[in-house]
């Protein structure tokens, strides 16, 4: 477990008995993390987390503030690289490839692993430009028509098309909070990622906007693997297949969502999901 160079086969064998991997649903392993530690300066914020994420599943990260769930989430698209003084050790693979490998371009990785942030952060540009930015950056569209096609299908998948189709050239910042967050989701899926990381995507939204995003997550599951960090345990229970509970930089328990909420194996998980702290 501690040695990141242990072969994958041995790892899976070792993981079978580990309460932290939980009963993974059938399917291919999309993302795999082994003994991931994150340091901010000399402070270790994440103490060796291992986990497999299956293709097309929704996995929720829950835990009290400062437990390392967002830090861990940001490891999957190497967003921690942009944080001054942050250091990540351990091994993370996407479809079996080490994302820290020198041959992997972080730009390529982020095209495959999209991200939606806590606060809606559309670019101060038009709705169209917001969605078109990624595809244009990666040269995904050969013509203007193709680009328009990508923008439309992304907005449709994000459930925003009908609301904005007549005002694509108005600023994205002029939309409501919920619409902005769906625009950010459209922006993320416009570059056709495999995985979407969502960092508390509904924390700044009202209940109606939240329920729309939750419906959207259900639909997106067909095509994408989704990791969602949330403070809202009902939300985790509603949208996710599996739930991971983090506490003080450790992954305490990972299991099927119903099991985590009804029959947690760890005392700390039970205390948290029953509202005794957090």
């Amino acid at each position: 477990m501690q040695d990141a160079k242990v072969t994958m086969g041995k790892m899976h064998a070792a993981l079978a008995d580990n309460p932290c991997t939980g009963a993974a649903p059938s399917g291919a392993v999309k993302l795999s993390a082994r003994d991931v530690r994150v340091f901010y300066g000399n402070n270790e914020a994440l103490h060796g987390v291992s986990m497999d994420v299956m293709a097309n599943e929704v996995i929720a990260f829950i835990g009290p503030s400062g437990c390392g769930k967002t830090t861990f989430l940001r490891c999957f698209n190497r967003m921690n690289d942009t944080v001054e003084g942050a250091r990540v050790t351990g091994r993370i693979t996407l479809d079996g490839y080490d994302i820290h490998d020198r041959a992997i371009d972080v730009v390529m990785l982020r095209a495959q692993v999209g991200m939606v942030f806590q606060k809606p952060n559309p670019f101060p540009k038009s709705i169209f430009e917001n969605v078109a930015y990624g595809p244009r950056l990666h040269g995904l569209a050969k013509s203007k028509a193709e680009l328009e096609q990508i923008v439309e299908s992304s907005l449709r998948r994000a459930g925003l098309w009908d609301e904005v189709k007549d005002r694509l050239d108005t600023p994205g910042t002029g939309l409501s909070g919920g619409q902005q967050q769906r625009l950010c989701i459209a922006r993320a899926i416009a570059v056709s990622p495999d995985v979407i990381l969502m960092d508390e995507p509904c924390s700044a939204l009202d209940p109606i906007a939240t329920s729309k995003i939750e419906e959207l997550i259900h639909e997106l599951k067909q095509n994408y693997t989704i990791i969602i960090v949330t403070h809202n345990m009902q939300q985790a229970a509603r949208v996710s297949d599996r739930t991971a509970f983090f506490h003080l930089g450790d992954l305490i328990e990972l299991g099927a969502t119903p099991q985590i909420f009804t029959n947690p194996r760890q005392q700390r998980t039970e205390d948290y999901v029953t509202g005794r702290y957090g």
Partner: protein
Amino acid sequence: MNSSTHSDQGYSAIRQRVESSLARRRNQELRFRALGIAAVTTALALVAILFTTILSKGLPAFWQATFVMDVHFDPEVIQIGPKPTAMPGESPAAFAQRLTQWQLDLNFIDFGQIIHRSIAKLLPEADQHPEGAAHLVTSGELFALRDMVVADPGIVGKTVRLKLLADANVDVWLKGNIDRDLPDAQQQLSAQTRQMADQLYAKGVIQNKFSTAIFMNPDSRSSLASAGLAGAFMGSLFMMIIVILLAVPIGVASAIYLEEFAPKNRWTDLIEVNINNLAAVPSIVFGLLGAAVFILWFKLPLSAPIVGGLVLTLMTLPTVIIATRSTLKAIPPSIREAALGVGASKVQAITDHVLPLARPGILTATIIGVAQALGETAPLLLIGMSAFVASVPATAFDQSTALPVQIYLWQGNELRNFFEGRTSAAIIVLLALMLSLNSLAIWLRKHYETRW
């Protein structure tokens, strides 16, 4: 029951205490507001006094005592042919000799006589006091007449209605800028000249007319009435162009590097501290540096706008860097994360999103830095830009002064009565330039901010 009575008493006591503190807080607020209003009023009053003084002194200087009269280009006085051109078969030496002779002839023409005759026609007394009459028109106009003859030899023999600037002392006398009761010994002009000036003014020959001399001419010491700002203006313009071309790209690039790319370590801390210190270095020190480095080492010419521009660039750089960095700092990190999140590289995130958002701030910082450089005087004194230069610089390597230096030079001119107005007029030009630059900064900021 018991406990509720107790809490009611507690409640009213708290209310009393809060109410008594409320009055104190309200008074505090009123005092603070009164102080603020007093400060603003004082500042506005001082600005108003400054502007009134400058405008009341400077604006009349744009109008100068001007002769409006018929000038006869008398062929008796002007005996010269057209400017010679090389004839076929003529040796270059022979042509050069002919040209020199022609120039000599030209210089011997007594244009003063032309003006004297024109005045004498209107005021016969002028013939009795030719010495006094010679001081009526400023000497620079003699060269203006000469230039007219050179430009068009056909003018000889004709009579043309011309506007000629009166001598600076005549202007001072007629405007009442000198005490008319002073004894002759203390007057700049002789009694006859003063009398003739008054008579010509009464006849309407000398009029107070708007003069473009201050805008179109370089500085002058022999013909004070035609001394102008053109040389200093061009010098300032060249320096501004140099500052914009150098300080803006270097400053903005350094700021972007330091803010977005540089690792945060002891070296960048050291650089940051030093940039902040440089911004606080007195400007005259930059002048010394410029003299030592650009003139002594690089052998750049003395008194040239190129050196002034380089010195002002050094002086402006810290301002531009600091302002640009604070603008970049103010761009929300969420925009960077959003761009990085869809797979933009760091450079793309900056050029596509951060810079467009920072543009209004950077523009404002730049323009204010340039405006500051435009008004700087001290460093220019040390690189020889306070020299008297009687020509308009054609390139940045020619000798020149700058607007603020010209103000300083005119302020010290011996003919105070005339140059007090000229100085204020120059200040008006400089302030107008500054205000338009600052308005441009405000307009640019508004223009780019309202886009989204």
